[in-house]
């Protein structure tokens, strides 16, 4: 067959690589700020208490920046580089390539602007509001379209396994993103989730878990299957194993989401499915890790000299550790200790800093010398980065494991007389402060490593010449299909990649469908409780402030049916309590106590003072202060629309209620304001009801005082009876 000339586009790879490093540094710095806020809360409250950088808003910015900006751009870097070379063709469309690049950066910038402003859906790793969700969908389609079209015009017959992982990534992320983002807009930057309570939780964690699986894992396994053999100059240890790895992994992963909701109000059968599939996941995960590590058999001496291989080895080891730990954490007995604690945060960072971070660094050290046709500026600096990064990971994760384990046990500890040893939640938090300081130090070290890499790469770039297009002559091993006269357009499309795409879709759809459809369709899964009523207009507004400030990042609303939980918080949470929660706010981390039964526990004025300066009322508290809530007027311009949208979603507000909502809101606000004034007027007699009734803080207090009160209003036996009767 005739040889053809191909020009690989290196410029797009360079663009994405620069974006990866830039956003990586920014995302990690934001993470460091969040870590410091927990380590030195007083300093931040006293000197840097700005609403735009308060912990609840900064934390989602950190997670979004590292996942979608740092890791996302790294995925594109690796895919755009390897895809062209594996298929011996340039990307199908330069226009789509650069649209993908600029569109993605625009999405990131919009996240950087909107998250600190408090525009959030509150669903973890899917916080961005609906207009950005639409933009993400479009950009993802642009990426997939370009990738798929490139596959169709390829010059090699067989699709290397890395590309299978890329395709599965594209299909699954598309499905996850679309289904989890069903939301009804209220205004330009506000929407309510289409799902409520238990269903919302299940869909969210089906998404959240598989965002880890199909954004942080499968694309990186594809990159691993390309870059590890390249860097070691050896074929993958077992190609058969890689195929088994692929199918088993995508088949099993999609089922495991419910392990994020163990002991919650999710139906038991769904929890059990999540556990079983999580345990099974060890097999393909470790198959992949071993396949990667064994690729280095016989060339381990190279690892001593090559920084790139060192990074890959630690990345694979971290992958192995995280994928062993994950299934262990999904065992109910272990989960009851670790869930809601810093252990989970440590687990995530073994994956994030170890697996994703180290693989990205190795890839960057591999790519830049190739792109600039020059040797790396300094191997010893790269080696130094390796050791600093490894040390950073250890210093980050070990204190957090320790913190998580200690706190988990403290929550469970009982005195011989049957009372809790640490009834005051705060005492289990202040005990963690040294660990939070150590963790920040670990993070700082890790970032210093990244800065060393940036310097090393800058020097490398300066000394080389950029190869904008790599020109190669290739011998196609696949015949170009020409469209014959009268032939159906379908024939033109190569059938195998389409088949692969369809099979991948079917395989990932099975697990999601089996878990989600029955939860939504079978009524007995979510028992109705007649006492549970919709939120009042003021509470709806308060809930939206709760969402805006990211309270869900530190406070759960899910009392698990465990003795140490019911002893501390009260009756365990039931599925029927959350039917009007659009979105659900169960949370996944307790840096502060659970709030599911908060209503009526404390006075309105307690909340008022506490919100303005938490440590004044609970000394030692690490909660950020929210003084702006007492200054800012509550905006009620969207109240009518909110009531209408919620009614449309099934919340039983009577027809026409939206017109009365505002006056109900004012009545309730005045009452709370009166309560507050009565208690605090001794110190400050000048404050009038009208001064504070219209403030945001009043709405938030209304919401907090409502939590759990519906179910408290009836004796416990009655609700049990009610649910069992249905």
């Amino acid at each position: 067959m005739e040889k053809v000339e191909v020009r690989y586009d290196n410029k797009i790879v360079k663009y994405f690589a620069y974006a990866t490093i830039t956003w990586g540094i920014i995302g990690m710095l934001v993470g460091l700020i969040a870590a410091l806020q927990l380590a030195f809360p007083d300093f931040f409250n006293d000197y840097l208490g700005y609403k735009y950088i308060s912990f609840g808003r900064i934390r989602p910015l950190h997670t979004n920046a590292v996942i979608f900006a740092f890791v996302g751009n790294a995925i594109f870097t690796g895919v755009y580089y390897s895809l062209q070379r594996l298929l011996k063709t340039r990307m199908w469309s330069d226009k789509l390539s650069y649209l993908n690049f600029w569109g993605w950066q625009l999405i990131i910038v919009s996240a950087v602007i909107t998250l600190p402003m408090g525009f959030t859906s509150s669903k973890e790793y899917a916080e961005l509001e609906w207009p950005i969700d639409i933009a993400i969908t479009i950009m993802w389609v642009v990426f997939g379209w370009n990738m798929f079209a490139t596959i169709l015009v390829r010059r090699v017959k067989h699709l290397y396994v890395a590309i299978w992982f890329y395709l599965a990534t594209f299909v699954t992320v598309a499905v996850l993103h679309v289904f989890n983002s069903f939301e009804i807009p209220v205004s330009f930057m506000k929407s309510y989730s289409w799902y409520s309570g238990v269903t919302d939780a299940l869909v969210q964690w089906w998404y959240g878990h598989n965002a880890v699986a199909f954004f942080l894992t499968t694309p990186f396994l594809g990159l691993m299957y390309y870059f590890v053999p390249k860097a070691a100059n050896r074929p993958v240890y077992s190609y058969k194993l890689s195929i088994i790895h692929f199918w088993a992994l995508i088949f099993l992963y999609i089922w495991a989401g419910p392990h994020h909701l163990l002991y919650s109000s999710l139906p038991d059968w769904a929890q059990s499915l999540g556990v079983v599939f999580s345990i099974m996941l060890i097999a393909p995960s470790w198959g992949g890790m071993l396949n990667g590590l064994l690729t280095l058999r016989g060339v381990w001496d190279k690892v001593r000299d090559s920084a790139v291989l060192k990074f890959f080895v630690v990345a694979l080891t971290a992958y192995g550790m995280a994928t062993f730990e994950g299934p262990m954490l999904s065992l109910k007995n272990i989960n009851s200790i670790t869930h809601f604690t810093d252990w989970i945060v440590a687990h995530v960072h073994v994956g994030g800093l170890g697996w994703n971070g180290m693989l990205i660094f190795g890839m960057m050290y591999y790519l830049f010398p190739k792109l600039y046709k020059v040797k790396l500026y300094s191997q010893s600096l790269a080696n130094a980065h390796f050791w600093i990064a490894t040390l950073g990971i250890l210093l980050w994760t070990i204190p957090m494991y320790w913190a998580g384990f200690s706190q988990g046990l403290m929550w469970q500890e009982f005195n011989p007389d049957g009372t809790l040893t640490y009834p005051d939640f705060l005492s289990t938090v202040t005990a963690l402060e040294p660990f939070y300081i150590m963790r920040s130090f670990g993070g700082l070290i890790y970032i210093i490593g990244v800065l060393l890499m940036a310097y090393n790469i800058r020097k490398t770039v300066k000394s080389g010449t950029f190869v904008k297009e790599e020109v190669v002559e290739v011998t196609p091993t696949i015949e170009k299909k020409k469209k014959e006269k009268g032939e159906h357009w379908h024939r033109v499309i190569e059938r195998k990649p389409v088949r692969l795409l369809v099979f991948s879709f079917i395989v990932i759809a099975i697990g999601g469908a089996v878990e989600i459809i029955p939860t939504m369709a079978v009524e007995s899964n979510i028992e109705k409780i007649s006492q549970v009523k919709p939120f009042t207009p003021l509470e709806v507004e308060g809930r939206d402030i709760y969402i805006r400030e990211g309270c869900v990042g530190c406070h759960s609303q899910m009392v698990r049916p465990l003795r140490f939980e019911t002893e501390r918080y009260g009756e365990y949470s039931k599925a029927g309590e959350f039917v009007y929660d659009h979105p659900f706010l169960w949370g996944s981390k307790r840096t502060g106590p659970d709030l599911a039964r908060e209503g009526g526990l404390r006075s309105d004025s307690w909340h008022y003072t506490h919100m303005i300066m938490p440590k004044q009322i609970s000394p030692g508290s690490i909660m950020p202060a929210y003084p702006w809530l007492a200054d800012d007027d509550l905006y009620t311009g969207h109240l009518e629309k909110k009531i209408n949208v919620l009614r449309g979603l099934g919340v039983p507000y009577p027809e026409g209620y939206e017109k009365e909502a505002l006056s109900d809101l004012q009545k309730q606000a005045n009452k709370i304001a009166e309560n507050v004034i009565r208690d605090i007027s001794k110190e400050n007699s000048n404050v009038q009801v009208s001064d504070i009734a219209g403030k945001e803080i009043i709405a938030l207090i209304a919401y907090l005082q409502r939590l759990g009160t519906d179910i408290k209003a009836v004796p416990a036996e009655e609700t049990e009876l009610e649910t069992s009767m249905k």
Binding site: Y160, K230, Y239, I243, K373, F466, V471, V514, P518
Partner: protein, 59 residues
Amino acid sequence: MSEISGIEIYPIIALLIFVIFFVVMLWRMYKMTKAETDMYSQLPLLEDDEVIDTNDTKE
């Protein structure tokens, strides 16, 4: 769940899908020859052999 008529068939179908999926996959793996897998696994390593010029268009 026990109230739903015909629910018993669900776990059986689920188990069948699961078993069939893995049997088919493993069977296909078993049928692959060494020549095939060797060829496939070489794919990322072969590509550089024919680089003719990496330096004609600079920026």
